[in-house]
Symmetry: D2
Subunit: 337 residues, 4 copies
């Protein structure tokens, strides 16, 4: 931690800060510069220290040195994590593909679609049974019935089920059916939910909050890891910016940056990341080229009549074409798919 004093800080203020740093269990080291004094506080840089140092008199700003996350960090665990859930494996040589409708609509729909997706190379099946909707007047999902439909699709195809859980009290029920618990972007900082998923031990797909920084994203993962659940996949799904021609802005530099800072595998969601069906295939290819460990994509046989998210949903034929193209890109970056 580096404490920068104001240019007109008095020596009493510097002395006070030195003492305050010692009381916090750190070792102060004063550096007298040409224009101001800086005090390094050496020791474990625990969360809350900035807040404890900044209000002191004469302080201009406090600069943290260390990343605030630990278990998610590649400094703590150098070997890369591979998350395994049923037939799905994310983080290894093979780029995994999780595909399916936004919402599970009927057993017939999901089983038929799952067969097609499986045959064209998907290894996971996504589908919402509990739907977080911006409006209370939107379709909210089939809930437990939807989970049973997903389980039927898995029985038919062996695809691993990836589905969202929206509340801590639903975790046990959703865990009965799902191979992977998805935590949605809106819930990335729903700490009760993160802890419940952590306690469940079921692998998690954690979506980045739409305005989360990378540190906040990894701290959210930390909540799950800290409960002893090592199976966390980080999913970039686009962030909110001033851009209005796409639903969100999909920043793929997240992929190599997360690979550098963390050992956890990285998934990319080009469907939510763009909000436009025709931008999904090129961004899927770009994600693979950037090093993504998996893709998660919305597919529906009839997007015009899908219960939700039709605008960003591709058809099975578009999915096949996308898979063929992505496979070639994967090989070009020494991955398989």
């Amino acid at each position: 931690m580096i404490v920068v004093m104001k240019s007109d800080a008095t020596s009493e203020q510097v002395d006070h800060m030195v003492k305050h740093i010692q009381e916090l269990g750190l070792k102060p080291q004063v550096i007298v510069g040409t224009q101001r004094t800086v005090i390094a506080a050496v020791g474990e840089e625990r969360v809350g220290l900035v807040e404890a140092l900044e209000p002191s008199p004469g302080v201009e700003k406090v600069l943290p040195i260390l990343a605030p996350y630990k278990r998610a960090s590649s400094e703590l665990k150098a070997d890369r994590t591979v998350v395994k859930a049923g037939g799905l494996e994310v983080g290894g040589l093979k780029v995994a593909v999780i595909a399916g409708p936004c919402s599970v609509e009927s057993e017939e729909q999901i089983v038929r679609l799952a067969r097609i997706l499986k045959q064209r190379g998907a290894t996971g099946l996504r589908g919402g049974a509990f739907k977080p909707r911006t409006s209370p007047y939107s379709f909210q999902g089939h809930k437990e019935d939807g989970l049973k439909m997903l389980a039927a699709a898995r029985a038919e195809t062996g695809l691993a089920i990836v589905t969202e859980v929206m509340a801590p009290e639903h975790v046990p029920m959703v865990s009965k059916y799902a191979d992977v618990l998805q935590i949605g972007a809106r819930n990335m900082q729903n700490y009760q939910l993160l802890q419940a998923v952590g306690d469940s031990g079921v692998p998690a797909l954690l979506k980045r909050g739409m305005s989360a920084t990378i540190d906040e994203f990894l701290l959210a993962a930390e909540y799950i890891l800290d409960r002893g659940n090592p199976g966390v996949m980080l999913c970039e799904r686009g962030i909110r910016t001033y851009e209005d021609h796409t639903r969100f802005t999909l920043p793929l530099a997240t992929v190599p940056y997360l690979h550098e800072k963390s050992h956890l595998p990285v998934v990319v969601d080009p469907s939510h990341g763009t909000g436009k069906a025709r931008l999904v295939p090129p961004m899927a290819k770009a994600a693979v080229a950037a090093g993504a460990d998996a893709l998660i994509v919305e597919v529906h046989e009839d997007p015009e009549n899908a219960a939700s998210d039709g605008s960003q949903t591709i058809t099975p034929d578009e999915f096949s074409k996308m898979m063929n193209e992505c496979r070639r890109v994967a090989e070009a970056v020494d991955r398989i798919m």
Copy 2:
């Protein structure tokens, strides 16, 4: 709803869309322009229609006409809502002030501080018993014990208690002690929580999500109102932008804009909105001048040793001075304080 067809849309595609609009229960009206055809879909503009219209062949974009919220709208209810909770009244002539520490630390602390705040003009007492923290390693609050401390402070001072509830299952317990249930920015789209607060009937202070649009903010309020709870206060607490000299960017135009679109009262939080103690008083004054119905402010007797958020916390003396200044601004805009 306005459907804009592509410039090269075929007449078959236009016909298909006309039929699709009819099937959705709306009345199509075709407008042939010089460069493209536009189809107005007249009727109730329910949520999900954009998603149902956009994937159709030949469609360039779909423009909604109506606001997606209803009960929160000033079109539905013209008279302004005044929320009453204990001694706190928000939305009338008087600008209310909710003040207190970020976290409740001890009964002694909160009772002593409440007395001071009451005496200097606050009408509500804020204080976190359950703390949503970005890091799992931060202080998470005293939980129910903290609520009891707040209740003790109310018993002493009569100040209404405003405190955060973080999970649906906590709503009954928090409601036993609190006059107002605060829903934090991170939980603005935690729909289970919104519904639970709606069902409780306890007045709610709903914080704007840090990247929420105004439509999303009012739709979150709609979740609470839709459960029959009319007591919703909308709290602007700053949004995430590229600015880095303040913790968030506090957009005060939210105040008059919400007053135009909604009948709900508007609260401003200059503490989180700036993240810097010395910017709190000028932004509090600006909020009052912009028409805010209440302020919510972090105050602590010793910010340097506060359990959380010290950087943005003012002292009781700074609070007194701010109150005196705000009172004069309130009078200048024909309010009292």
Copy 3:
């Protein structure tokens, strides 16, 4: 400058950095922490040092300590600057008001409007003769003829003329007519223009770029100050964020923050800052409450038929009402208007 080494940096890399810092004319001071080594580089923190230090092997990041601007800083010049230009004075006790149409349309229009504005309390007259327009097909202004119309309005009313200059080669011509050279948001980093305005010695109203940080804003002012022109007014006019209900997001915390960091006066533009006429008066009041030294506002007798920016333009009657309201707020914060 603080150089943070990676956790696995070798001692050779630390030694290399120590030497590199010395070669750059700074004094290195090594701080060995529990998890990584940090090297303070003591000395003048000139621009470009971060770029020179960051690429070295073993470096994780470089944290600057000092603000990059000098002449604009309140550390260099503690007394506040008052900019005087004709009858306009910005930075003193009195809150100045610069008002007028977006574009100068005719001499008759501008003279008649100037008389009204003067009578209702404006001290400066704004009006575009050269218009930067997003589209090449928009009205681009009357150019030098427009300047002559402005001069005629000044001759009639004594109002100081504030008008935009868009290119370095226009500076001499615009200076013949204008009391204040306005540099538009799109040109905030047009360095040739900044230098030409600096060389002219004519007072400048520098608008914040729509995605400029405060450091970038003050560095743009520095370009003007560095040429020996002390008369710089900083104008907050809204920034680009994800918000879409207003044209821009107007962050009023800029006002007290700039007052703390710089001695230059601060102007607020609620017209561009909101893009909506009915939000202009409340945000004008809020700006005054936040401590603004001046307002700049778009006024037109017939916004529906204005040559540009009608949506954000108020009428003379709305202006009168706004002035009366702002005057009361100014008094409440110990200013006059």
Copy 4:
């Protein structure tokens, strides 16, 4: 243009708007909906109409239907533009690579580096002679001497010279040496400069402004095209968002989106787009996978001692490796490189 009237708009207001639309030369078509009246204004949707319609009484909002750009639009010109400048060709089957230092430092430097880059597959040489710098205290480039050094490098290697021009009055001089005139992000809306580059007829590489929308970006291109210069390359170089782990956020969905809306070729700059050397190669690969027509990359033999932008600069060895990797990705998407 669609004019949405307020829910309480009177029939007089609707009549007034119908007349106003007719006076503007458009044909009004009134659509009476269940909750409000909407008026379609059929005809050429010229710039400025929104501003002319929005201030009228009873109007809630105005929705434009058509894109504001014309010559840049793929609707006007369906076949894709290929820009040719010396040996550089951008927009065809081959993905072009423009590489070089941020600043030209010496003739020896640039000639030696150009030889290496040419040999490793670059077809264009970038290098700044005029440098737009955020601070007036930064190195501002060697100006015309720098241009001569670039010309010497071209004489040796045949690489096309891509270099920035910062002011309209420099266009003739820079055109003497450069094959492509680069317009920097800060100058994307410097209209005098755009027009001067348009008049020069020299191919242009137009960088996206750091907070420009796609419409604004294409309108800036329109300024150049409108002067009869068809040779415009659109360069995505990252936008400003709240993300702080990279210098900018690089939104690659821009590439397929621009390809859909415009016939102009698209270049990606992963150096500025990330600001971090080690993120450049993965984002270069991703850009190629997304369909970029060219890359522009900063390369320097000794980034630690580069005159500017060292942090985001790769070495010739890293460049070679990146080229080999990108070449494979290009083939996987049926391009060559």
